[in-house]
């Protein structure tokens, strides 16, 4: 009985102590979650503190406070500032939340500093990084208040116009419940794996390859791989998830990559590949040009380029898939990158996808494709 009372007193005291500690010295993420002002953290009494506060306000989507703290408010409006961060048109940015931020001082003097701010945004398809180099200035010589000069990036807007599009689309009528046994249904599209390579990486086995839609109709495709041991038992089974372009138009080729974590290639005797295709309604638009494709060597090996939407429709999310071939023409790697901004007609948007350094040195050529998603329409 006494032991129980002692325990209750101890638990109560510990809870009170932790509440006091959490209130007086909150961690940054807790402050952001609680929606408290940045005042709890620090005032903008240094260049670094000013940037930290701005990042916290952006994280809380307290746009009004973030905008009012800027030194160059006269150069743009608050909605323009918000659109710079969340995009003019619905895109991955619009639905992203700030996961974390890092800052790196680049240069500092008595009245001015330059700080690199890395905003890591979290989306349903992973994170993307928004890096801004910020100028921070002392606002008053006599005070210790610093403010950020925000490098506004004004997204181009498409002027009102009519763009005629020769609209090409497939619609499908499937077999109905009243059809007799033996009556035909529409045939599933014929697809074929034209290339496949298992590779042993430090994180596990990676299966990559290319899939061709041989048919004259669009297909929704997936690829599933099953690793089999020498005794025929199944080691693991995975599918390509989003490392593939799921909608394949006639004669289109997509790369795919399937990762098996914590499996060594030496354990694998054979791989069973199972591509599947379903006939779907699809559109042949929009057409995306991928311009200025460059393979940048290590260190920081990457594949970069620019996407240009050649159609009249705004593309909300673009997914770029890169296929990398060795000097002998063999497939050596597959990488992908989501573009965080919407693709406006005839407006270039850059992309960059990183490539493992050991792979980059083997690459002889590459090929990129895009999968696009527009709101209110699949593909």
């Amino acid at each position: 009985m006494t032991t129980g009372r002692l325990l209750a007193v101890f638990v109560t005291a510990a809870t009170v102590a932790l509440i006091v500690v959490g209130t007086l010295w909150p961690i940054q993420s807790a402050v952001a979650m609680a929606g408290s002002g940045a005042d709890l953290l620090s005032s903008s009494s240094s260049a670094q503190a000013a940037v930290e506060n701005l990042a916290a306000e952006i994280g809380r989507q307290d746009w009004e406070k973030a905008y009012s703290s800027l030194a160059n408010k006269n150069e743009f409006t608050e909605p323009e500032f918000v659109r710079d961060l969340t995009g003019n048109y619905p895109s991955l940015r619009t639905y992203a939340t700030l996961d974390s931020s890092d800052l790196r001082p680049l240069h500092a003097s008595a009245d001015e500093a330059q700080i690199q701010l890395k905003l890591r945004w979290s989306t349903v398809v992973g994170t993307f990084l928004d890096t801004r180099t910020l100028k921070v200035v002392r606002t008053d010589d006599r005070s210790d208040h610093w403010a950020v000069v925000w490098p506004i990036v004004k997204e181009p807007r498409v002027p009102p116009q009519v763009i005629p599009v020769n609209y090409l689309r497939w619609d499908v009528i499937y077999r109905g419940p009243g059809d007799d046994w033996g009556a035909q249904d529409v045939e599933a599209p014929r697809v074929r794996i034209i290339d496949m390579h298992p590779v042993d990486r430090s994180a596990g086995v990676v299966i990559m390859g290319e899939l061709l839609n041989e048919d004259v109709v669009p297909a929704f495709v997936t690829v599933k791989a099953t690793l089999l041991a020498k005794d025929g038992s199944v080691i693991a089974s995975e599918d390509s998830f989003d490392k593939i372009s799921h909608v394949l138009l006639p004669k289109q080729v997509t790369p795919f990559l399937i990762a098996f974590h914590d499996v060594a290639l030496s354990q694998v005797d054979s791989v069973h590949m199972n591509p599947s295709a379903t006939l779907i309604a699809a559109s042949a638009d929009p057409v995306i040009e991928i311009e200025d494709q460059h393979l940048n060597p290590a260190p920081g090996a990457s594949f970069t380029g620019k996407l240009i939407n050649e159609s009249g429709q705004v593309v909300n999310v673009a997914h770029v898939l890169g296929t990398f071939y060795g000097k002998d023409g063999q497939l050596v790697w597959v990488a992908d990158q989501y573009v965080d901004r919407a693709l406006l007609p005839e407006t270039p948007v850059s992309f960059a996808m990183s490539i493992p350094a050991d792979i980059a040195s083997k690459v002889g050529s590459e090929r990129a494709i895009t999968a696009t998603y527009s709101s209110g329409r699949f593909q």
């Binding site: 090409l168 061709l212 138009l249 080729v253 200025d292 460059h294 050649e310």
Partner: protein, 290 residues
């Protein structure tokens, strides 16, 4: 399921027969009866009895005056299969069996044709399978001639006549050289089944592009894209244009529209522009001079 239930029900009914009913009597059963046909069973003996006929999906009960024939009208027994008979009289119970076979005259067919869409010029690429049934949906097991005909595109129709084996006939046909919808017809007696086979163009053949300046850029377009049989490749087929210049590359995946794919690409003097679709490569053009 239904048949099993009926059989079980019949067995239960028989098991519940009171022995007090028993009287002597017997039946002269036919060995086989054609499904749906009228027939009779001659009984011997005297007195009254009850005849039960238990078969797939069906149970019949008849009061019988022993020594007389029991008649069954056409359509009374219509499911093919093995039937069990039990004659229960006052003094005895006698059982027997006979078979009901499918009618000889085919009345219906089920026609499976695959695929519904095939590339032109595919040898033995179309398969047709026919199941022959009588008027009561019994599979007709006696060998029956089934004729298959694939027609409707260019050229003469392909015809095959196949004899069924165990009620099934099958054949293979070649797809035509010309694209279009083919009528695949199977016929047994007066019963016919029709399936539509869409014969579509094959891989593009002799893919070629031409390049024209278009303002600050280049307008690249293919010649009308056809397969090796001269059929126009359908719109929506993806054609990939690739421009390489000074270690940099630009690509456009453009769909065929009205038989031609078009794209605009950067204008670099000395750039190489090539074209491909699927696994088929086209020509390569060098723009301007280095």
């Amino acid at each position: 399921m239904k048949r099993r239930f009926t059989f079980s029900l019949g067995v239960l009914v028989l098991a519940a027969m009171p022995l007090a009913f028993a009287q002597s009597g017997s039946l002269h059963l036919p060995k086989t009866v054609e499904a749906g046909s009228a027939f009779s069973i001659q009984s011997t003996g005297s007195g009254k009895a009850v005849l039960y006929i238990v078969g797939p999906g069906q149970v019949l009960r008849r009061s019988v005056q022993l020594g007389e024939a029991v008649s069954f009208a056409s359509g009374d027994l219509h499911n093919a299969g093995h039937y069990l008979t039990v004659l229960v009289s006052d003094s005895s119970t006698e059982d027997g069996s006979f078979d009901v076979t499918a009618a000889h005259e085919p009345a219906a067919l089920s026609f499976l044709a695959k695929p519904s869409r095939i590339a032109v010029d595919s040898r033995d690429g179309i398969s047709g399978v026919v199941y022959v049934f009588d008027a009561f949906q019994n599979l007709v097991l006696t060998p029956t001639h089934v004729s298959f005909q694939l027609s409707g595109v260019a050229g003469s129709a392909q015809t095959r006549t196949v004899l069924t084996r165990n009620g099934v006939a099958w054949t293979k046909m070649n797809s035509a050289a010309k694209e279009g919808s083919g009528q695949f017809v199977a016929q047994v007696g007066t019963a016919t089944g029709t399936r539509v086979i869409q014969q579509v163009p094959g891989d593009p053949c002799g893919l070629r592009i031409s390049v024209q300046p278009s303002g600050q850029r280049l307008a690249v377009q293919t010649d009308p894209v056809r397969d090796c049989s001269g059929n126009v490749v359908p719109d929506g087929t993806i054609v990939t244009f690739t421009e390489t210049y000074n270690g940099s590359e630009s690509t456009v995946d453009a769909p065929l529209k009205q038989g031609v794919a078009r794209a605009e690409m950067p204008a670099y003097n000395g750039a190489k522009i090539s074209v491909a679709t699927g696994v088929v490569l086209g020509n390569e053009i060098r723009w301007g001079r280095e």
